[in-house]
Amino acid sequence: MADKLHFNLVSPERELMAADVDQVDIPGAEGWIGVLPNHTPLMTTLAPGMVRIKAGNDEKHIFVRGGFAEISPAGLTLLAEEAMPADELDAEKIALRVKDAEEDLADADSDEKKLAAQQSLDRLKELQAAL
């Protein structure tokens, strides 16, 4: 595979990563999306979870929460509200976010919001269990 995928990860405060990689797996709102070079243009919201970035034999994991992914011929751009390398993530930080998500769920006033809150809570709990 000669082609490379141009990957950008930006948070509101700065650009966290810009690199050419082989594959990125992103936690889309409706399931995991494996993005390879020349993926069809796609726009999706993100669920909290680990982004897996593969470049050669290297694999990097970054935790993201909230935001968007945009795939265009120019590459993949993740607009993450929060992003953190996996090795900086610990049980305590996850627990904090689980608590936030639970509060969100309790605050949700419409079915739609409840569903979204429930989804992100489930994802976070999954992550918590995996850690």
Partner: protein
Amino acid sequence: MANLKDLKTRITSVKSTQKITKAKQMVAAAKLRRAEERATEARPYTQRMEAVLANLAASAEGNPNAPRLLAGTGKDETHLLIVATADKGLCGGFNSSIVRLAREHIVKLQGEGKKVKIITVGRKGDDQLKRLYESLIVWKANFLETKQIGFANAHEIAEKVLAMFKDEEFDVATLFYGKFQNVVMQVPTPQQIIPAVAPQGVETPELKGAVYDYEPDEAEILRALLPRYVAVQIFRALLENVASEQAASMTAMDNATRNAGEMIDKLNLKYNRARQAQITTELIEIIAGAEAL
């Protein structure tokens, strides 16, 4: 002569003021560099977001089901003014010029019979506005305890604004802040954030004939994106405000330091003259005394 001592005290006092302004100027210069960096670092996110939004907004245009954050409430009665200023003074006309712009706006809106609500961000703007419009201020925020403004701060303000919008407390929200042009130019700027103005002239990526797939769907994404766009705009305004404040402060303190220098020179001249005059008087007295013998 008492006058001599007075002059000396004044010179010392002006000198210590000069030391303060000089120090503040250097602090501002250092902070300005950091603030500018942060504003630059935040740019990619904003740009990407604008590109995505421009793309989506174009397709939502004219759609009766377009989210209210984009289409507005259909009314134009109550205006919310978010006035972002600095928390500290010593930055020349920076705060006053933002407040003046906001005030002109308020007078104009009130003249048209519209209702006005104010959110103040930053202590200085709050101080100035509450003298005139105490009853209109619905909420205030400041960053006195925040060392560095982060996205979380902007998010908090955005949440408040969005909650108010949801409760139909206003129809149009405008943000006032000091746009950072360059070190000598900071332009107080009004920016309408609700209903969202779709950014113009942003580059959208070339799709080579393909169309975007949307997950979940376009409307859903737009609904999720718009509140974030409000937060991003506030965040950017806050970052620019910090940079502008430091730039204004640097210029103001530079002027103050120079003024103090001129004043010291003048006072020194006066002091020397007075001292000379005293010596001459003393000499005359001695000579007159010697002649009398």
